[in-house]
């Protein structure tokens, strides 16, 4: 009988206990792997597009709700390193009704330069041209269009809340991206013509910089240019801009950290508990093993190996359920995008979770296993379990 087989036999001698232990490890690990994937989706940058590193967002220094003058566009364009400055106006508004499943991002922008700045979005050339020609036209993410069953030529009506205007848009094109952005874009002129206070202002500017090396300098130059203007600006990278929205929800990093550490401690306790129980039961067997000539080290290894094996199986099980959850999340009415990214991150976080499981199995079994390996043969044989 090989040692591995011995470990396997021992692990399954009490099938119910082993199964329960595996399951009670699997669930905290499910949480851990799930949360780590979400964390990476939020804060990791592996999956952000190449172009994203070359983009800056300039907005009003006070807040996004303060608009900045359109005259800034030309000034920004003349700052060395800037290749494009694209106005973006958050429209808000209501599509059909105020239910969350009918909410998606809608921006007014400049169709002529839009695809020069957002190069990772691809659209058939004729559709892009059609959008440029129609002032009341719009383009949408292909995934978004699929969700609402839109086809090119369909009429999309948006009722304004920030802007007192009802937009009657015609869908002129569908764009695709590696990670769908679930947004709709229309010509900013439409709102400007209908709403006096929207004229001559922009919500924020998406700025394309010629090379990633110049991003920091350009960002400073832009803010410096408007530092003493009546409407000062704040320029940051697209990533920082995205994270600032996340920061509004509260201290997400701390939430995830606290919950994850609770999950890890739970795993430690559960495996420790089980191993302590099963080792105590086998005190006499240990003495017999020793009489047969097994060394302390081997006995220690047998128990630790058993705990590690059980924890690892639990870990794999947990991460698999997490995978299921994450793929389920991609169909969520809101925040599906996050899950799409998180799902891709899973292949990095799952091995990490397995590592945690194995480590927990090792740490939690080390003490009881060490105790068992030290028990004297005579004491062990006398033990009544």
């Amino acid at each position: 009988m090989t040692l591995a087989r011995f470990v396997r036999k021992n692990a399954f001698r009490n099938k119910r206990r082993t199964l329960l232990t595996m399951l009670s490890i699997a669930f905290p690990l499910l949480l851990l792997s799930f949360l780590m994937s979400i964390w990476r989706a939020f804060y990791g940058d592996d999956l952000r597009s190449e172009q994203s590193n070359q983009r800056l967002i300039t907005r009003h220094k006070v807040s996004l709700t303060n608009l900045i003058p359109s005259s800034y566009r030309d000034k920004i364009r003349h700052i060395p390193g800037v290749t494009r400055a694209l106005p973006m106006n958050w429209f808000g508004g209501v599509y059909k009704d105020a239910k969350p499943e009918n909410f998606f991002a809608r921006f007014g922008t400049d169709p002529d330069e839009f695809f020069d700045v957002y190069t990772e979005l691809s659209i058939p050339k004729d559709q892009g041209e059609a959008w440029k020609k129609d002032r009341a036209g719009c383009i949408a993410d292909a995934e978004l269009a699929k969700k609402y069953g839109w086809k090119i030529g369909d009429r999309i009506v948006l009722t304004g809340d920030i802007y007192p205007i009802t937009l009657e848009l015609t869908l002129r094109g569908l764009f695709t991206a590696q990670i769908p952005n679930n947004s709709l874009y229309f010509n900013e002129k439409y709102v400007e013509e209908g709403v006096p206070f929207a004229k001559g202002v922009a919500g924020f500017y998406a700025i394309l910089v010629d090379s990633p090396q110049n991003v920091n300098r350009v960002s400073h130059d832009i803010d410096a240019a408007f530092a003493n203007a009546p409407e000062p600006t704040r320029t940051e990278t697209e990533k920082a801009f995205g994270l600032s929205f996340l920061a509004m929800l509260g201290n997400i990093k701390a939430f995830i950290l606290i919950i994850s550490s609770a999950a890890v401690f739970t795993i430690l306790l559960v495996t420790g508990n089980t191993m302590a129980m099963s080792i105590r039961e086998r005190t006499r067997e240990v003495a017999v093993l020793k009489t047969l000539g097994f060394t302390r080290g081997t006995i220690l290894g047998l128990f630790v190996g058993e705990a590690v094996a059980i924890a690892a199986v639990g870990g794999v099980l947990g991460t698999l359920i997490a995978l299921l959850f994450l793929s389920g999340g991609t169909h969520a009415p809101q925040g599906a995008n996050l899950f799409v990214i998180a799902l891709r991150e899973w292949k990095f976080t799952a091995p990490a979770a397995w590592g945690v499981a194995i480590l927990a199995g090792f740490l939690s079994s080390a003490i009881p296993a060490y105790g068992a390996s030290r028990t004297g043969i005579v004491d062990g044989l006398r033990h009544i379990g």
């Binding site: 232990t21 669930f27 996004l64 007192p164 939430f255 420790g272 508990n273 302590a276 129980m277």
Partner: protein, 418 residues
């Protein structure tokens, strides 16, 4: 609603469980295995007991943590409104920040019936502008958006139940003066009474500090409406208006009267309703809390079941002896379920104690409508404690049923021979 039958099914299940438990308790008191039997057993195997209880405790802490956040957040938003204050916004606008209507509508609003009179005998109405300003953090860690509210003197009067002056005096109309909330005073520099604070086009004099009692006002700076209008080029209009109704009935009719008037093109809502909508932000945390709590609970149920199976296995001869002495199967089942629940209760107690230091810890979130910071503190409320205990006991109950059943089912002779 598609989940109604589901809810009813669960309710029936819970009801059946409660009836059964009550029945068992009655039987337990009359013929049951003594309670001390379980307690002594738990003490005898204290390491196992403690470790399982700790596992449950950790599950409870995560749930309690998220519930404390929710409780604090709810307080910050919901307690802000006064049901007698009617908020008037431009039609279509969803927040105080995106509003704005011409000043000539104010006299019409003032003449609506059902408005309370202020200390000067005039209708208690306040035209207001809410804007966002940037203040640097006291510790130098970046800048934060803070809400600046410009109001008429009546604005102070219709909020006098929620906001109390704790130091200095209220701002005077027509002056560049502000009052700050205590929480702003704690977090930002230059906010002592008499200090000059810089935002907008220059410095403002701080004349007082007020306490918003944990409401959203606690994250605001207040000043005179005309000062805000001048500062942000918004003369000739007001952002929104507040009307103080004489009673709840009048508030309701005021709200409808404003909304139904075709010429005004305005919308009315109770201030409480307005803040209610803004807690939508908490929905995400609630969902996350639910998922996290449930996942950890399932894990803990398996762990508790494991411990109870072990407890039962150790005591199989004892159990057989109890049966020989005449205790019935039902009594044995109840006894072990009680033991499991007791274990969970211990876990809940440890969990709540572990979370006590977090009580009152303040954190912030952003108001998603105004993009400005809302400060709130985590709170252990009675509701949080009760939920945690019920949650833990349910875990113990579910985890304990199968092992207890297994214990009672064994043949006496076979168990005695073990």
């Amino acid at each position: 609603m598609s989940h109604v039958p589901f809810v009813i099914a669960i309710l029936i299940l819970v009801l059946a469980l409660v009836v059964w438990i009550c029945w068992e308790i009655v039987r337990f008191i009359r013929f049951g295995v003594p309670f001390s039997y379980n307690v002594r057993n738990m003490i005898l195997r204290k390491r196992l007991t403690l470790m399982t209880a700790l596992g449950i405790a950790l599950t409870v802490t995560t749930t309690v943590f998220l519930m404390m956040l929710l409780a604090g957040m709810r307080k910050a938003f919901v307690s802000s409104g006064d049901p007698l204050n009617v908020l008037v916004l431009r039609k279509g606008s969803t927040s105080e920040l995106t509003g704005g209507f011409t000043k000539d509508k104010m006299p019409i609003l003032r003449q609506l019936p059902g408005i309370a009179t202020d200390s000067h005998g005039q209708p208690m109405v306040s035209g207001e502008w809410v804007v966002v300003v940037v203040l640097p953090h006291r510790d130098g860690t970046g800048e934060v958006n803070v809400t600046l509210r410009g109001m008429e003197q009546d604005g102070l009067e219709l909020r006098n139940k929620k906001a109390k002056l704790v130091e200095g005096s209220w701002f005077a109309s027509g002056q560049r003066e502000v009052v700050v909330s205590r929480s702003i005073h704690d977090r930002f520099s230059h906010t002592n009474v008499g200090d000059m604070i810089d935002f907008g086009k220059g410095a403002w004099k701080v004349t007082g500090i007020f306490d918003g009692g944990g409401s959203a006002y606690d994250s605001e700076i207040w000043t005179d409406i005309n000062q805000v209008a001048n500062q942000f080029n918004r003369q000739g209009a007001v952002g929104n208006a507040y009307l103080r109704a004489t009673d709840a009935l009048a508030a309701d009719s005021l709200k409808h009267r404003v909304a139904d008037d075709q010429q005004l093109q305005l919308d009315g809502m109770l201030e409480t309703e307005y803040y209610d909508k803004q807690t939508a932000n908490g929905g995400g945390i609630r969902l996350m809390g639910f998922i996290v709590g449930l996942t950890m609970a399932i894990g803990s149920i398996f762990a508790a079941a494991n411990t109870m199976y072990a407890a039962v296995a150790y005591r199989s001869r004892e159990i057989a002896t109890l049966r020989v002495m005449g205790f019935r199967r039902g009594s044995i089942v109840t006894s072990f379920i009680f033991e499991s629940m007791l274990l969970a209760l211990l876990g809940a107690a440890i969990g709540i104690v572990l979370m006590l230091p977090f009580n009152g810890m303040s954190t912030s979130t952003s108001n998603q409508v105004t993009f400005s910071e809302v400060e709130f503190s985590m709170r252990i409320t009675l509701q949080v404690v009760i939920t945690a205990v019920v949650f833990a006991v349910a875990m113990g109950l579910i985890g304990g049923v199968a092992p207890a059943w297994g214990a009672a089912r064994r043949e006496i002779l076979a168990a005695l021979r073990d």
